[in-house]
Amino acid sequence: MNQKVIALLAGLLFGAGLAASGMNDSNVVQGFLDVSGAWNPSLMFVMAAALMLTIPGFQYFLRRKPILAQSFKLPNLKNIDRQLVTGAIIFGVGWGLVGLCPGPAIAALGYLNWEGIVFVLAMLAGAKFRQLQVA
């Protein structure tokens, strides 16, 4: 099996997981962030279930080598800097406003509703703007 097959399979499972868990529904995600309203804790359990697999799995493989690749491609940055914190806060503001983060936004493109398509185009524009700014 090669890496392209794994990438496709991982995408399929990820997309199915987002749909199954309700994370493609912006109302469910906003329900999690709405701690003073009708709180919906779903997102917390989705993350907990995902981490139950990724924490032991990542820790196991980090001490070894990837099965098909020469090495792990990990971020070089180690320090907590202003960019990380400011970027995460800006992301959080947009996330609260609409209830979509990049994963569900892309996955929900298949629903073919104009709201989701507009959101993804704006998201790409925002990312491109940042790329040009630091280039």
Binding site: F14, G17, A49, I67, A88, W95, G126
Partner: protein, 149 residues
């Protein structure tokens, strides 16, 4: 609080979470890659990406869309409602999410699911920041300003 916990559809929520974790683990264990959807997507719109190095990213994203659709068709689950936001707010939200995840090098999947599993202090910090910012932002827009979001 108790009724909120009782209202969670645990079977689908937990199995969905396990699928997401399995997907992230597969990509990491086999390919040595982080399943961060914003990183994967935004590297495709950088200047001069070559197809040979980006093919896996396209395949992952195609799988993401197809996996979601397959789930709905195989389980006969209806599609969720689209976001309630007006056009200007959708655009503003998209710009903030794209800009912020680029600047902060990650989103819910890259920092939240993969970064925390690597015990990365940057990812743990970022996840705390965007969750807190999301809670505050929703409170201000929805409850203080009374916007329909």
């Amino acid at each position: 609080m108790i009724s909120a916990l009782q209202a969670v559809p645990y079977l689908s929520v937990l199995s969905g979470g396990l699928l997401i974790g399995l997907a992230a683990l597969l990509l990491f264990a086999f390919n040595g890659r982080i399943a961060g959807v914003c990183g994967i997507t935004f590297s495709l719109i950088k200047r001069h990406p070559s197809f040979s190095t980006t093919a896996w990213r396209w395949l992952f994203l195609v799988g993401l869309v197809a996996g979601t659709l397959l789930y709905h068709f195989l389980t006969s689950t209806p599609f969720p409602e689209p976001p309630n936001n007006s056009l200007p707010l959708l655009i503003a939200g998209g710009l903030l999410v794209g800009y912020g995840t680029s600047m902060g090098s990650g989103c819910t999947s890259g920092h939240g699911v993969c970064g925390i599993a690597r015990f990365s202090t940057r990812s743990i910090t970022a996840t705390a920041c965007f969750m807190l910012a999301g809670i505050v932002s929703l409170f201000i827009f929805k409850h203080l300003l009374g916007w329909s979001i």
